[in-house]
């Protein structure tokens, strides 16, 4: 028994938070620690999943920083688990959203050409970076992406619906029309998208970031749809949620062959994120767009700064 204890401690001494929990727990069997570890993964990813579902992200935006900064999981495994869990959020939430008829499948599928291509390039790029042990680059890029999303969220927070813009050639060709019932505004909203080509360019970049950082890159997708294509926030958020699964599946297969997917971590994360996404979608309709953005921004700033500092070699 004593031998067992020592083994357990040696094994997880890298993680400060985990250590605290283990100290307060009687260690009678070798399985208690793995169970606690698994439960912690589920808990952390469930919380990330709720946050993610609220803002149309895969949860990875919050998950990867928490895993790497607080649970000391290597960034390759953290991003691998995150990318896989993004699929869980997307597929889990997609069924609910399709029923709500807010998701615009044509819009999403059209933009997936760019995101899946971007994801392949991004995943191959990160494989190159990891193979040269340049992990710090990923920390810094991750932090900067988090911080840039704050700017995007805050500058757009004045509008519930986009300003009027004239339909262009792409509106007709790609049938970018749609309508949905907005619960907060209490009316049927008719909308149409413009500048499909600009959306595609931003989506390629979103896909690249998704493959590079193992996140759904939902905020960039939202930017592409509500800024470039002038679509309502609700449509871009839900359509983005639909898209991130397909983008992530593309990147995941490349992560798989390079070995960035650790089964235990990925399993706990996927289960947790599913639970979180389920709860998150229930809350989604009750929160207005503006309040989502403010909560979101505060958390992003905090995690973004920490990730950059970690990349530069300071603390954490």
């Amino acid at each position: 028994m004593i031998k067992n204890r020592i083994k357990i401690f040696q094994f997880n001494n890298k993680s400060l938070i985990l250590e605290k929990i283990y100290i307060s727990t009687p260690k009678k069997k070798g399985v208690i620690q793995p169970i606690l570890y698994f439960l912690m993964l589920i808990l952390v990813s469930a919380i990330s999943g709720i946050l993610g579902a609220l803002v149309g992200l895969g949860g990875g935006t919050f998950l990867v920083p928490i895993y790497t900064l607080y649970l000391r999981i290597p960034i390759a495994y953290a991003t691998g688990a995150s990318l896989i869990s993004t699929i869980a959020t997307s597929s889990g939430a997609a069924s609910a959203y399709i029923k709500d008829k807010i998701t615009n499948v044509k819009l999403g599928m059209g933009l997936e050409i760019a995101t899946t291509s971007g994801s392949i390039v991004g995943a191959l790029t990160v494989a190159l970076i990891y193979s040269h042990h340049l992990q710090y680059i990923i920390y810094i890029v991750f932090g900067l992406v988090l911080l840039s999303q704050v700017y995007i969220q805050l500058t757009r927070s004045k509008y519930e619906l986009p300003k009027e813009m004239k339909p262009d050639w792409s509106t007709k060709l790609f049938k970018l029309y749609g309508s949905y019932y907005d619960v907060v505004l209490g009316k049927e909203v008719n909308y149409y998208g413009v500048r499909w080509w600009l959306g595609e360019i931003i989506m390629f970049f979103a896909g690249f970031i998704s493959g590079l950082l193992g996140i759904g890159s939902g905020a960039l997708k939202v930017l592409g749809m509500d800024w470039a294509m002038n679509l309502p926030m609700k449509v871009s958020t839900t359509t983005s949620n639909f898209m991130i699964g397909i983008t992530a599946a593309t990147g995941s297969s490349i992560y798989w062959i390079y070995g960035y997917i650790q089964p235990f971590i990925a399993a706990g994360t996927a289960i947790g994120v599913l639970i979180g996404a389920f709860i998150g979608t229930k809350i989604l309709v009750r929160i207005t767009n503006r309040s989502i953005r403010y909560i979101f921004s505060a958390i992003l700033i905090f995690l973004g700064i920490q990730m950059v500092l970690r990349g530069l070699g300071y603390g954490f």
Partner: protein, 127 residues
């Protein structure tokens, strides 16, 4: 049952089966205390050496048939990755049925990208 319902059910089924397999894999790992050559503590570690690069389709099938906990977890993850692929395939069928040719072509391109990443790239990279 229309296409949207079919899609919603397919996604839900994929996610539920996947989550069930992940959980069964976890339980089996707790009961057996090891998977293959690896002890439970080697697997449930932050910096574990056990990862997806050792699990090809072959090892996965063999492992699952012999109730290897890790192989079952990986099978759950494979099914999870497959759900968006199914979504895209159903999308192609839907657009063909609606005779929406522009979106049929678009969805076929997305499908090609997925297949390229899943099957073609690994053989090009020789990993």
């Amino acid at each position: 049952m229309d296409f949207n319902d079919a899609i919603a059910y397919a996604l839900r089924a994929g996610v539920i089966v996947s989550a069930a397999l992940l959980f069964i894999g976890f339980l089996l790992l707790m009961i057996k205390g090891k998977a293959g050559y690896y002890s439970i503590n080697e697997i449930a570690s932050t910096a574990s050496v056990v990862n997806s690069s050792y699990y090809s389709a072959n090892t996965l099938i063999k492992g699952t048939l012999s109730f290897d906990p890790i192989a079952i977890m990986f099978l759950g993850l494979v099914i999870l990755i497959a759900t968006p692929v199914i979504r895209v395939v159903l999308g192609i069928a839907q657009f063909i049925k609606e005779k929406d040719w522009i979106y049929t072509v678009i969805t076929l391109i997305v499908f090609f990208n997925l297949i390229f990443a899943i099957f073609i790239l690994p053989s090009i990279l020789h990993i």
